[in-house]
Amino acid sequence: MIALLVGLAGAQELVDPCEFNYPIAGSAGFANGQTGRRTNRNTYSAANFAERSLVDDAPEFQWALEWNATFNAAQVPTLCGDADLAGSTTKQRVYNEPLDLYASNLAISFETHSFGAFYSASVTQSVMGQRYFVVPTMIIQLYPLVSSPFVGIWQTGDGVSSYSLDWIGGAHVDTRWFGARIGYTGIGGAYASVDERTVGLFGTLAIPLDGTDPFAGKTPWSFLKAGLDRFDPARFGLADAAKKVGLTSVFLRDLPFGEAILDVAGGVAASAKDGEGDLASQAADLAEGRLRTLHLQQDNIMQWVDVDIAVAVSPEVNLYDSMVAVHTPGYVRGRLVDKSARARRKGEEGFLAKVGVVTLPAQYSLGVEGGTYFSARAEYRSKVGVYVILLFNDPEQLALYPFAVNALSARVSLSLGPE
């Protein structure tokens, strides 16, 4: 992969970085940067992270911390404003500066006698350059993550740069047959999640509570994910078949594309600040963008191999991917496990390597020429709950950021609990 990246870098003329950079509006890179920062906020929202990180049938106490970074999500034409003090002249020039997207998340839950409470918070940032300073400061985001309910919600941005803080808190119930969560989001909305524990059916929903009629023409939810999660034949006495065919998942995911999750009112206001014109005209121009993806996954085949297929079904099919992964036995875990199985699998180390191709058609409205790209994903899980993922042209990235060709994403997670 390094050789590939060196080749990619060689195809472009590299220039010196700039300390004081000013993104130039009008380009596809600038528009993509604005879309990317909103999508980043939606994808790593507090509600989404709670759904993803807090496992079902929760133990008495669990927590999860996660940092995500997507480097080079968009190339933004930029005016350099650095001053050359020695020569008393300016170094003004136009060049392309990479835009990076960051997210820091925290989730905590505790439970006694099947009832409990949970809390989840997120900080998302989009920053041009300054990578050496921004990445180390992600650890400092722990402070706003913990104090968000007391300091309130922050959503601020200028150009393609932004900083956003949001949180949700709620209660959950866990029984042998089903689990349910319901919560309030600091940004102004409701969150609910239900899963049944025989087959593995589940549904998660986030609804904005902004005073408008949720059925007045728009999609009533800001986030929806529903389907079958890791169906395990072994739970129905077919242990041998389960070892061969593995775990089956089929689910639909529906996210806002570009627009803000859970903030119909706030999102319009934020968009008005981003651009020009009055609020009414901005609101009229905002087409309801939804990203709906259908996922088919057969994981743990012969305990070693995963095959994942995802298709974007809305607004139009614009992404196809087919991936094959190899991993250590037991790396992919069933959703529904008893406590003894959970105790056995704690402390297991494992890794996963996935390669494939992803095909993007030309999308000139995004400044994307299209083509077939090499795609790779590497994951490592340590014995002590540290989880590291590297993604390059991964479908998970490109479904969210279709303009982020040849971007690299990194994720580091820490958790205490069954995972």
Binding site: L5, L14, C18, G26, F71, P98, D285, A287
Partner: protein
């Protein structure tokens, strides 16, 4: 560190980038106003076939500063949807959104 360095490097603006941005802006604004991806992509193709790019050296400031050339795609991206609907496939009308457009493209 190597990956970090490679992916962190700013890159130069190519001479024909400004012109391509005009086509991207037409496709992007069409997509935003109509929600029709195929119409947007077809409009870019029409643009690429009907117009020739004028290359610009970003260091050449004799006529105009490079950053000002983005005024053309910016004006196109700010066209009201009513005008987008009215202009439809008349790309000459689109290119009148800013005087800068004449510096970037010319009809074949």
């Amino acid at each position: 560190m190597l990956l970090w360095w490679i992916l962190g490097c700013p890159t130069a603006v190519e001479p024909d980038d400004f012109c391509q941005e005009v086509g991207y802006a037409i496709a992007g604004r069409t997509q935003e106003c109509t929600g029709q991806t195929k119409v947007a992509e077809a409009r870019y193709t029409t643009f690429a076939e009907a117009y020739r790019c004028k290359d610009w050296d970003v260091a050449d400031t004799a006529v105009v500063h490079a950053e000002d050339l983005y005024a053309c795609p910016l004006a196109i991206r700010e066209l009201p949807c009513e005008l987008v609907s009215a202009y439809d496939d008349d790309l000459d009308a689109w290119l009148e959104a800013s005087p800068m457009c004449a510096l970037l493209v010319e009809a074949k």
